[in-house]
């Protein structure tokens, strides 16, 4: 029973009646937007539309729209990893995309999604960082992966992963050499190479409603009504490579198995989409 009203954002908070409204729908096995519990929203993917970025993509998962732009620049490597390039993801949830977000430093949700992407890149060895090295201990590539959410209607995690992967596949790096005699850097813009990606992950997010119902691909309204979250990441061979379960209500074992099976099917669908778009 919720009686406390939080009016800090000035936005209307859904009253208790929305819970009942949602429960009525779930009894029939359907959600207010007409989808089944495990059904995903239609997806649109477009790559390479931003010419100022080395690689870019635009993803729409239902109404949620994320634009990913990757800028490849040259810098000195970290002292602890002198032969490895650097990949810096960043997710921007600005007040432009939803009235839920306030202007200023990144909110908690943006920080969590950024860290999720960072963990995913590191734990799955997504990009071979040794390939990004130009000259050991002197010059490496740094990839700034900026994901800007233009329209927030839930499930930012899935949309971010898909747009990051599509943009990485679209990146073209020019050939860079260090001229030892004059100690200058020579860049050949005409000779470009794509990134070698060791893995092609796809994530699927589920939310738990009322401890017993699992819904896939939640909208913004559903995110407010549900409690727990489960994100499963699969690769191109259908194996589960990463799973994140940030606390919340307990989940039954059979629910987790159901989610894993659904995530594998979803992974295969999105992999075909990547193939079609990036060629």
């Amino acid at each position: 029973m919720r009686t406390v009203i939080k009016s800090s954002t000035g936005q209307l908070r859904l009253n208790d009646k929305s819970d009942d409204f949602y429960k009525l729908h779930l009894k029939e096995g359907i959600r207010p937007d007409g989808r089944m519990l495990m059904e995903m929203r239609p997806m649109v993917l477009n790559v390479g539309s931003i010419s100022t970025a080395s690689g870019s993509s635009l993803v729409k998962v239902g109404n949620t729209t994320v634009v990913c732009g990757i800028k490849a620049e040259l810098t000195e490597p970290n002292a602890s990893h002198p032969g490895k390039g650097i990949v810096v993801p960043n997710v921007e949830l600005s007040p432009l995309c939803s009235p839920k977000f306030k202007p200023g430093p990144p909110c908690d949700q943006a920080q969590v999604v950024t860290k999720f992407l960072d963990n995913l890149i590191q734990s799955t060895n997504l990009i071979c960082l040794d390939d990004l090295c130009v000259e050991n201990d002197k010059l490496v590539w740094i990839l700034y992966c900026d994901l800007i959410c233009i329209d927030y209607d839930g499930n930012i995690v899935d949309a971010s992963v898909i747009s990051l992967m599509a943009a990485l596949q679209n990146v073209k790096l020019p050939e860079v050499k260090i001229n030892e005699e004059c100690e200058s850097v020579e860049v050949n813009l005409k000779c470009t190479a794509t990134l070698k990606l060791c893995s092609c992950p796809v994530s699927t997010t589920f939310r738990v409603f009322d401890r017993s119902n699992i819904i896939a691909d939640p909208t913004s309204m559903e995110e407010e009504l549900t409690e727990g979250q489960l994100t499963i990441v699969t690769d191109q061979q259908g194996r589960i490579i990463y799973m994140e379960r940030p606390g919340g209500v307990t989940l039954q074992e059979e629910h987790v198995e159901k989610c894993m099976k659904r995530a594998v099917i979803r992974g295969a669908e999105v992999q075909t989409l990547y193939m079609e778009v990036t060629g």
Binding site: G10, S49, I50, S51, T52, A53, S56, N63, T65, V67, G69, I70, K71, A72, E73, L74, T75, E76, N78, I86, V88, P89, N90, E92, S94, P95, L96, C97, S98, P99, P103, P105, P106, Q111, T114, K115, D118, I142, Y144, D146, I148, I150, D151, Y152, D153, P174, V176, V185, E186, V187, N188, L189, S220
Partner: protein, 276 residues
């Protein structure tokens, strides 16, 4: 660069590879009076406008001017958060931001001074057109992000912001359209400049060669009322050249009215079809 504790750590500085082998642009106009992208000096790029692109916003608009891509969303009228913001008339807040990947060099996430200046210019242009007395004690928020900057980002943003306000049902005296012109030497006016053609102070010495007039002028106009509501001018311009450039920008902005009107009317039609 200020370190941001809420974002992943980045190195102090990094080099854009394109800056290491700059394609030196000697002249913006060749012998046949053609610009680098093939246009003539009095040719503008095609504009594409669409309202209602952000489903979560009260009103929104997407604008494409050649390769320049701008998204604007509007929220409000809402309650003012701070006591200092209280006025019997409404208040508009405008935030303009370049996406980190929108320019040739990677931009930081924290808004810098140039973005704050542009936010101010856009705010000036919009304050002239919105009927703030209809919204006492309220705040209208306008957020603009430039996804790709290929010149004339400010003028595209102003047009997009005004259409987003109209899409949000905020009462305005008139919509605001905007255009830019680059002054290149004596008697050369490049309409709707691309990012290569935009004025940069460091290019001034190499281009001067005796000519005094180099600059960029952006004008925001209320087309039906034929009133100029904001002017932004950069560079070295003589008085009569500046006046001539402003008049040129005004007529360019007037020409945008048809496209803007068509965009707004098509959004009315699509809603009527939903209601029918």
């Amino acid at each position: 660069m200020a370190t941001d504790s809420r974002r992943l750590a980045v190195p102090q500085s990094s080099l854009d590879p394109k800056s290491l082998c700059p394609a030196k642009v000697e002249r913006l106009l060749n012998d046949e009076e053609q610009r680098l992208d093939g246009r003539y000096s009095s040719e503008s790029r095609g504009i594409y406008l669409q309202c209602g692109t952000v489903s979560q916003a009260k009103g929104s608009c997407y604008c494409e001017l050649g390769n320049t891509k701008v998204v604007c969303s509007v929220y409000g009228p809402k309650d003012v958060e701070h006591y200092e913001d209280f006025q019997m008339e409404g208040k508009i807040k405008c935030e303009f931001k370049y996406a980190p990947f929108s320019c040739s060099k990677h931009r930081g996430h924290i808004p810098d001074l140039s973005e704050a200046e542009i936010s101010d210019v856009i705010l000036q242009a919009l304050t002239a057109s919105v009927r703030l007395q209809c919204y006492p004690k309220s705040l209208i928020e306008v957020f603009i992000i430039v996804l790709e900057n290929d010149g004339s980002a400010v003028s595209a943003s102003i047009t997009a912001a005004s259409l987003a306000l109209a899409d949000a049902g905020i009462e305005q005296y008139d919509i605001v359209t905007s255009a830019s012109v680059r002054v290149y030497g004596n008697g050369n006016f490049l309409e709707d400049p691309t990012s290569v053609e935009e004025y940069r102070p460091q290019d001034f010495d190499s281009e001067s060669g005796g000519d005094l007039n180099h600059g960029l002028v952006t004008v925001a106009l209320l087309p039906t009322l034929n009133q100029v509501c904001a002017v932004l001018s950069n560079g070295h311009l003589e008085c009569d050249v500046l006046v001539e450039t402003i008049q040129m920008c005004t007529s360019l902005a007037q020409n945008l009215y048809t496209a803007a009107r068509k965009c707004l009317l098509s959004s009315v039609k699509s809603v009527d079809q939903n209601n029918a």
